[in-house]
Amino acid sequence: MIVLLTGLLSTAVLAGGVLALAAQGEVLAERVGVVDLGVEGLMALGAATAVLVDMKTVNPWLGLLAAMAVGSAGGAVFALATVIMRASQILCGLAMTFLGLGLSATIGHSVAGMPVAATFAPVAIPVLRDIPVIGPAFFGQNLLVIPIYVLLPAVCQWMLFHTRHGLNLRAVGENPAAADAVGIPVTKFRFLYVVIGAALAGGAGAYLSLAVTPSWSEGMVSGRGWIAVALVIFAGWRPFNAAGAGLLFGLVSAIGYLGQAQNWPIAAPVLNMLPYLGTLAFIIVPVVLWKKMRRLMAAPAALGVPYDRSER
């Protein structure tokens, strides 16, 4: 039983990290009022770049850095179109997704299907690793697990809710006109956090191709970018919730596979549906049962609306 639980949690932590990281980036972008639907494409681009650089340098950290750099470049293009030119965020996001998927397939063609030179290999952290169940899952895997689940959400949470900078940031997402009136540079804020969010999406791709799979192949992101966007809603645009949502989603999908392996008397297609059924349930149930949730978990008021000072 302990073996099963440990395995279950380990798989969930490993797989959920991709979603947790991508969702964290999307939280930041949406907090300043920009929906970035390009996550799927940025992840693919990051995954391919990471493997390319990893093959050349034999260093996964450089691969991760390169993926984040390419992610930010993609984010900058997206921000240029949506924040500065005020084009439709939905359309530009979709374009970004298709661009990223196509471009990643092209640049990654030479390394597709090949084993990567260096991966984020499991490292056991002394003492903590020996805690039953939780130890091997969180402290016996690759070194990115703790940053993804603890450090990054902690920094974001603190920044968003305990600093003036975070207050300004949220103001930009809630009411850019008011923020502008008190002298907050709306365009700068939006541009910066869209780029940071895109960098994290690129990083999520690198995590997928260097720690989880590890290798690059066309189509390997297979919709996880979209799930990350959905998780942001489920997480109520909160950093720790986003990390938790990634883990929960990883857990539910891992349970589906474990159910098949353990021959639970549930049809395989139903078990495969679990993550999606779970998402539906997690979003609907609290809102229906608990009225207060609606206000607590509300989206930034100006989400998806381009800000034009002259229309203030």
């Binding site: 073996v3 099963l4 440990t6 395995g7 279950l8 380990s10 798989t11 490993l14 797989a15 991709v18 397939a105 063609h109 030479s110 597709a112 299907g113 090949m114 084993p115 499991p122 997928l208 989880v212 799979t213 590890p214 290798s215 192949s217 066309e218 189509g219 390997m220 297979s222 996880r224 999908s253 891992a254 596979y257 474990l258 098949q260 392996a261 353990q262 021959n263 395989a268 297609p269 495969n272």
Partner: protein, 368 residues
């Protein structure tokens, strides 16, 4: 659309012109020949539609390797290909495009059903081949590998190597080729170790390394110590390597992804078939037919991995020799998962029956 080698757009356009020119010439079918007129090597254009990218490291790469070998035999032959042809009306458009460009032979490396048959029916002078197809018309044939014999041989090794008597199978969809693969492996294992059972997890994709990784981990956590499957990528071999288990793969030699775990692979080699088919088309002898590539002629077990003890390899290879000598291991009684006898004692399942296998054998869970 991409050409092999140095095929440029200009060449392609020249090819279109040449193709139209050819079409205008009256067919000169000599007695004893088919209506597919002989072709000079340099004026032939062969088009390939692939289900995935040629770099997938699995199924499509195996086809691409066969095509490259074929091109060494016919160096003046021109080929074109399209990767990742979707199973949709887009496939029809792509195959029609091949015909419009003057291809005299179109080969789809996966099943496209009506999407390819519609095009074939409207282009009676073009030879069509469909891998994993089922229908034969005047100008559309199919080919497939009898991978179940290789799976059975690997199953024998699996039955001798497992300590927990539980095999894990990373499946894709419950379709006959997957069912035949899993059944054959388990029957092979049970032939030497009757206590063997097999757990199958279907990941609903031919290619999703992350899902395959999760499925393999779940199988390992549940006590399976020998993993096999039918996915295009080596994800579950990596899991086996990381956890000290054994694994048998598909398509190609994948031992570099998990040298300590690699047992063998159902390796595919389409080169001889492609050479033979292209030669038949060039000489005007091509006829549409359904072809099974048999053990040793297009499909086989891979050279055994370093982890396989020599005596186990020898026992599995003895089974291989008997199959090559014409004996079939798919002989009744074979029971289904509920214990009912489906193939009576002494009765034989022939390749056609295995090609359409739609039930799981005894000891199998999760397959259908």
């Amino acid at each position: 659309m991409k050409g092999h080698g140095l095929l440029t757009r200009r060449h392609l356009l020249a090819g279109v012109g040449a193709g139209i020119g050819c079409g205008l010439l009256p067919a000169q079918a000599a007695p004893g020949q088919t209506r597919f007129a002989p072709l000079a090597e340099e004026e032939a254009l062969i088009a390939f539609g692939h289900v995935g990218p040629i770099t997938d490291g699995g199924w499509t790469t195996a086809h691409e390797l066969g095509i490259q070998k074929m091109k060494r035999v016919f160096p003046k032959l021109r080929t074109i290909y399209v990767e990742t042809v979707p199973y949709s009306a887009d496939a029809t458009r792509i195959f029609r495009q091949f015909v419009a460009e003057g291809a005299q032979m179109v080969i789809a490396t996966s099943n496209y059903g009506d999407f390819i048959k519609d095009v074939a029916d409207r282009a009676p002078d073009v030879a069509f081949l469909e891998c994993d197809g089922t229908r034969v018309t005047d100008n559309l044939g199919w080919y497939y590998i009898t991978h179940w014999y290789a799976s059975y041989i690997i199953g024998v090794a699996a039955g001798l190597m497992t300590k927990t008597n539980r095999l894990g199978y990373v499946g894709t969809f419950p379709v006959p080729s997957v069912i035949a693969s899993a059944n054959a492996t388990l029957l092979g294992a049970q032939s030497v170790n009757p206590a063997c059972t097999m757990n199958v997890i279907s990941i609903n994709s031919w290619f999703d390394p992350q899902a395959a990784t999760q499925a393999a981990s779940a199988l390992a956590d549940s006590g399976c110590d020998f993993l096999c499957g039918i996915t295009d990528d080596p994800a579950y071999l990596r899991v086996a390597q990381a956890r000290g288990l054994k694994a048998a793969m598909w398509n190609l030699d994948m031992r570099r992804f998990g040298p300590d775990s690699y047992v063998s692979s159902v390796v595919l080699d389409f080169s001889h078939f492609y050479i033979e088919q292209v030669r038949a088309r060039l000489t005007g002898q091509w006829k549409a037919a359904g072809t099974f590539l048999t053990l040793g002629h297009g499909v086989d077990r891979d050279v055994w991995g370093a982890t396989v003890p020599p005596e186990i390899a020898a026992r599995a290879d003895a089974v291989r020799d008997r199959i090559l000598a014409g004996e079939t291991p798919f002989r009744g009684p074979i029971r289904d998962a509920s214990g009912r006898i489906r193939v009576a004692a002494g009765e034989i399942m022939d390749d056609q029956a295995i090609y359409q296998w739609d039930w799981a054998v005894q000891g199998m869970t999760g397959l259908v």
